[in-house]
């Protein structure tokens, strides 16, 4: 997020919420939005499902899934045509405006209506609301990123934000809402194939040298590694022989899971470190019992770059151990054994007394965390990165005064169709998402009675017109099939979804939405297109 959550209630005057079921997936962010609404802030929601947030909105737009670039270009068309852009911001702080203008001027609202299904007048109204109420914040979630055009979608949001000068100000910016609690931290700390901690490129010679010195090793790998989807594919093809999985459940969370299972079964070694025997762990050769968050110390980084403490409340269950301790013990055994070529490494370098000591190692090599320490977190509660030094107060919003790269660059982008569109055989568009009561693959929430009782089983949502079209005729269960697999589940008929679109929450192993989803990837981010694939639906009698 470029902004902080508290800025929403305090400063933001217009919200453009895209593909985020905010009240269910990020309830306490939603509470700041609703508070802003009380003092007159405007809310625009764009989503193929009429979520609770959409019902509370001043304006609700219901696009066909997979048409984000088209309607975002359409918004910018209206803004430029009506002279609502922030000309001095564009002049002083950006480059590439002319190219952007040329592309977006080919997206008049009537053409956008044809592509996206959003009425031209609604699009005009949205453009005016957004451009005329500053500061304006864009909030988005997986509805933007989980597409083959996800990177284009993200860049289009940045274009819109820069065009209206909503950058580097309190309450105005671009804000991806992170689903899992520490997505931000896992990225920040180098859990990515192309960067070391702090987004420092593995391919940059000076960065490699810095980490070789800090870690006391020579010959770090200077090639970008494999993404999760590539590792799984590599397992299927025999190039990846061992996979070590820390607290992830790709067998439920990845697209096209029948294929994922086949790939994982080819591995010579699958190790899973988790708190429950997840679907992925059931396939493992070795399962290592980790502790829950309540049994360990550490830090998480929230969606607004906020580093906060995790504190141990109770002793680990049985023989389970905190993940950090398991990794250290394994590292020591790997170094002591003779198989790995690690001449300079000593097992003692993995003798961390506590996570606080690990943070003391992180800070000097990770500029955005440079001033983070447990002592400061204790005193100040939380710190928002970048916090480069021990006396830096942290950064509530990014890009104040200037962008880190100098001028902000507009990206002129044309709209492209999703990878798999509905056709005669598979006439519906499937989109997936979260529910209020469950977290990710349901491993923890489905074992929590108060949450499990709210929604016990999987279901598919569809519009009454579509229910009539497939002859549902009161049937309570349906079979949903794509080119990759099929599942049987309950059906809920609701007008709060776009006709032609069906929705399945992805938390349920026994009717897993990801049996159906398509593994087509965004070429830049590697994110699969969970939000669009073609399916057929038929009643089960």
């Amino acid at each position: 997020m470029t902004n902080s959550v508290p800025e929403f209630s305090a400063h933001t005057n217009c919200f453009l919420i895209i593909g985020s079921n905010t009240t269910e997936a990020h309830p306490l962010v939603a509470s700041h939005v609703m508070e802003a609404q009380q003092r007159g802030a405007k809310v625009i929601v764009v989503d193929p499902r009429q979520t609770q947030m959409a019902r509370l909105a001043d304006l609700y737009l219901c696009p066909r899934p997979g048409t984000n670039v088209a309607w975002l270009n359409g918004l910018m068309h209206v803004i430029i045509a009506e002279g609502l852009q922030d000309a001095s911001f564009v002049q002083e702080r950006t480059e590439g405006y002319e190219e952007l203008r040329q592309v977006v001027m080919t997206y008049p609202p009537e053409k956008v209506e044809e592509i996206s299904g959003i009425p031209a007048d609604d699009l005009r109204a949205a453009a005016r609301l957004y451009a005329q109420h500053k500061p304006a914040a864009i909030l988005y979630a997986m509805g933007i990123t989980q597409h083959t055009t996800g990177t284009d979608n993200v860049k289009s949001c940045a274009n819109l934000s820069m065009l209206t000068g909503n950058v580097g100000i309190a309450g105005g910016g671009v804000n991806p809402l992170r689903g899992q609690n520490n997505v931000q931290g896992a990225c920040d700390l180098g859990g990515l194939p192309n960067v070391y901690p702090g987004y420092q490129a593995v391919t940059a010679p000076e960065v490699k040298e810095k980490f070789e010195q800090a870690w006391g090793v020579a010959g770090l790998d200077d090639q970008v590694g494999l993404t999760v989807t590539e590792m799984i594919e590599g397992a299927g093809q025999g190039n990846v022989r061992a996979l070590y999985v820390m607290a992830e459940n790709p067998l439920l969370s990845d697209p096209d899971i029948n294929h994922v299972r086949h790939c994982l079964e080819q591995l010579d070694l699958l190790v899973v470190q988790d708190i429950f025997l997840t679907e992925t762990a059931e396939l493992a050769h070795v399962v290592l019992p980790a502790t829950s968050f309540a049994e360990k110390d550490g830090t998480f980084t929230g969606t607004d770059r906020r580093v906060q403490r995790v504190q141990k409340a109770v002793e680990p269950l049985g023989e389970s151990k905190p993940d950090w301790q398991i990794i250290c013990e394994l590292a020591q055994m790997m170094i002591s054994g003779s198989r790995f070529q690690v001449p300079n490494l000593q097992p003692e370098t993995w003798n961390y007394a506590s996570p606080a000591e690990v943070m003391d190692e992180i800070a000097p090599v990770t500029p955005i965390y440079g001033g983070v320490s447990y002592e400061r977190l204790e005193r100040e509660g939380s710190l928002q990165w970048p916090v480069p030094t021990a006396d830096h107060p942290g950064t509530p919003y990014l890009h104040k005064g200037k962008f880190s790269r100098g001028l902000g660059r507009f990206h002129a982008i044309h709209s492209q169709a999703a990878a798999e569109l509905p056709d005669e055989a598979y006439p519906f568009t499937l989109t997936t998402g979260r529910l209020m009561f469950h977290f990710h693959t349901g491993t923890m929430t489905r074992r929590t009675e108060k949450l499990a009782q709210e929604v016990r089983e999987a279901y598919v949502e569809m519009h009454p017109d579509d229910a009539a079209r497939i002859g549902l005729d009161g049937a309570e269960r349906v079979r949903v099939a794509s080119r990759r697999g099929e599942i049987e589940l309950a059906v809920r008929v609701t007008p709060a979804i776009r006709p032609g679109v069906v929705f399945i929450p992805f938390h349920f192993a026994e009717a897993a939405a990801n049996v159906l989803t398509h593994a087509a990837l965004d070429p830049d981010s590697g994110i699969p297109e969970f939000k669009v694939c073609a399916v057929q639906v038929e009643p089960v009698t």
Binding site: T227, R339, E449
Partner: protein
């Protein structure tokens, strides 16, 4: 009787609400929000209120497991970790560092993610590390 409140962070979404775990004689007996916290400001959603309920769930894994045929048998930490180090080492020797992959986690702490990528990068010498954030 020993009672304390332990301030920590909710794990069920990226909002990052602070929570207090109420601990009585070494067990969690309740959860309450933190009125001072800038995001949650004294409230929590239903997931937050119930965030600690799974901590002592009977399905929790309590010992290392090693595959035996279709199922698993229990193993000591020493045996399980030796087995991992040994078999990963054999694969490394036979097929090289790029034949090994690591999945870090959007559910684990910053320190744990740091350590896992450090292990992958310094001992195995591979950048094959990613997590399921995009999913």
């Amino acid at each position: 009787m020993q009672y304390e409140n332990v301030r920590t962070t909710c794990i069920y979404c990226g909002c990052g609400c602070a929570i207090n775990l109420q601990v009585l004689d070494g067990e969690i007996v309740g959860v309450f929000p933190d009125p001072q916290h800038p995001i949650s400001r004294g409230s929590l959603c239903i997931k937050g209120w119930n965030v600690a309920s799974f901590v002592r769930h009977p399905d929790r894994l309590a010992t290392p497991l090693v595959r035996q045929g279709e199922g698993f048998r229990e193993a000591s930490w020493d045996e399980a970790l030796q087995l991992v180090a040994e078999r990963m080492g054999a694969i490394y020797a036979a097929s090289g560092p790029q034949s090994i992959g690591f999945l870090a986690s959007a559910k684990c702490t910053n320190e744990e993610n740091y350590l896992l990528q450090k292990l992958a990068r310094t001992i195995v010498r591979t950048n094959n590390i990613d997590h399921c954030a995009r999913l």
